[in-house]
């Protein structure tokens, strides 16, 4: 039975990681579906979904040589009921200001209290400047004005600026 598996590969970057992982999956007859890779200061992180008849143990075994090279690999079944189209509304939270501990936890805590789910997140540290951009899904009926006020208040306490705007959802 074809099963979707979530594979994560983490570790120090080097040329060839993606070619080796996908080569091992292809050899098992796996079909690569969604994936997202990032590279932060030499740290490689890739999460992917592969559809395969081979089963999780066989996929783990096929990737064992990757682990032997010092990378961390996990293979987990994708939940059948995984919700890919959360109802509600999409928002963009933009934050910037002087760097200090607690900016992300303070503001994402406010989002969580409102029942919001962070669906994408980038944080960047520049010279004396910290930038956070989070894509947020809010549940239907959320009090967006109250959330925006609470975010502004917490941002003020943290000495940063936060703005919450509707996410771009143009369909052409």
């Amino acid at each position: 039975m074809t099963q979707s598996l979530a594979v994560t590969v983490l570790g120090h970057d080097r040329p060839g990681i993606i070619a080796e992982v996908t080569g091992a999956l292809a050899a098992l007859g796996g079909n690569l579906e969604d994936s997202s890779m990032t590279l932060l200061r030499g740290h490689f992180a890739w999460t992917l979904v592969v559809a395969t008849d081979a089963g999780a143990p066989a996929v783990r075994e096929a990737l064992r040589h990757i682990e032997a090279e010092g990378l961390v690999v996990s293979v987990l079944p994708v939940p059948e009921a995984a919700d890919t189209g959360a109802p509600g509304s999409a928002w963009l939270l933009s934050v910037h200001g002087a760097d200090r501990p607690g900016i992300v936890s303070g503001l994402t805590g406010v989002v969580a209290e409102a029942g919001g789910n962070i669906t994408d997140l980038t944080t960047r540290l520049g010279t004396g400047l910290y930038v956070v951009v989070a894509e947020v899904t809010l549940p239907a009926g959320a009090d967006v004005a109250a959330l925006a006020d609470r975010l502004a208040a917490v941002a003020d306490e943290l000495g940063v600026r936060a703005s919450l705007a509707p996410a771009d959802s143009d369909v052409l």
Binding site: V133, R161, A167
Partner: protein, 182 residues
């Protein structure tokens, strides 16, 4: 006439000085700038200083007063040499400028001297009408423009309202480490 052959004719200005450019998170960049008298000699001097600072700054196509630490509604602009520009009005300074109309949004990447480490993808109008006053004479100018000059004008007027492009980026993957100046 303040616009001749499509270019804004600037009144004579005193010799400008090169001023230091402040960077985020400076408070002056996050506050709304105040309207000023365009014939005030201090405003005229600031206009000259902005143009001089802009000219010596590699890749700089516009500079708002609060980027040099002054909370007044004054900015300089010159996109004439920029490859993404279509209509251009030369090198000029506007005082108390307001956006009259803004249409046809497009997303594109922009940078800022006050945010030197990053660039960002920002959706802005590509057809724009801005009304402002010339320093020194107070003559009113209506700038009808498009493409990159429209983007630059909105970027500078945003500064005067206390916003930088980081407040406008289009998504979590719309911030990029800066490689080169615009």
């Amino acid at each position: 006439m303040p616009i001749v052959d499509g270019r804004i004719v600037m009144p004579p200005l005193p010799e400008g000085r090169v001023l230091p450019v402040v960077t985020a998170p400076a408070a002056v960049l996050a506050a709304r700038c105040g309207e000023v008298d365009p014939v005030d000699p201090a405003v005229v001097q600031l206009a000259a200083d902005l143009l001089t600072t802009q000219r010596v700054s590699p890749g700089c196509v516009g500079l708002a007063a609060n980027q040099v630490g002054v909370g007044w509604r004054v900015f300089s602009l010159d996109v004439s040499a920029h490859p993404k520009a279509h209509t251009t009005h030369g090198e000029y300074v506007l005082v108390n400028a307001v956006v009259e109309s803004a249409t046809r949004n497009e997303k594109s990447r922009e940078g800022c001297m006050s945010v030197p480490d990053f660039t960002g993808d920002v959706k802005r109008a590509t057809r724009l009408v801005v009304r402002g006053l010339l320093p020194g004479t107070g003559e009113e100018v209506v700038v009808e423009t498009d493409a990159f000059e429209a983007r630059a004008l909105q970027h500078e007027i945003d500064h005067l309202d206390g916003y930088v492009f980081l407040d406008r980026v289009a998504g979590a993957h719309a911030i990029h480490p800066r490689q080169t100046y615009l």
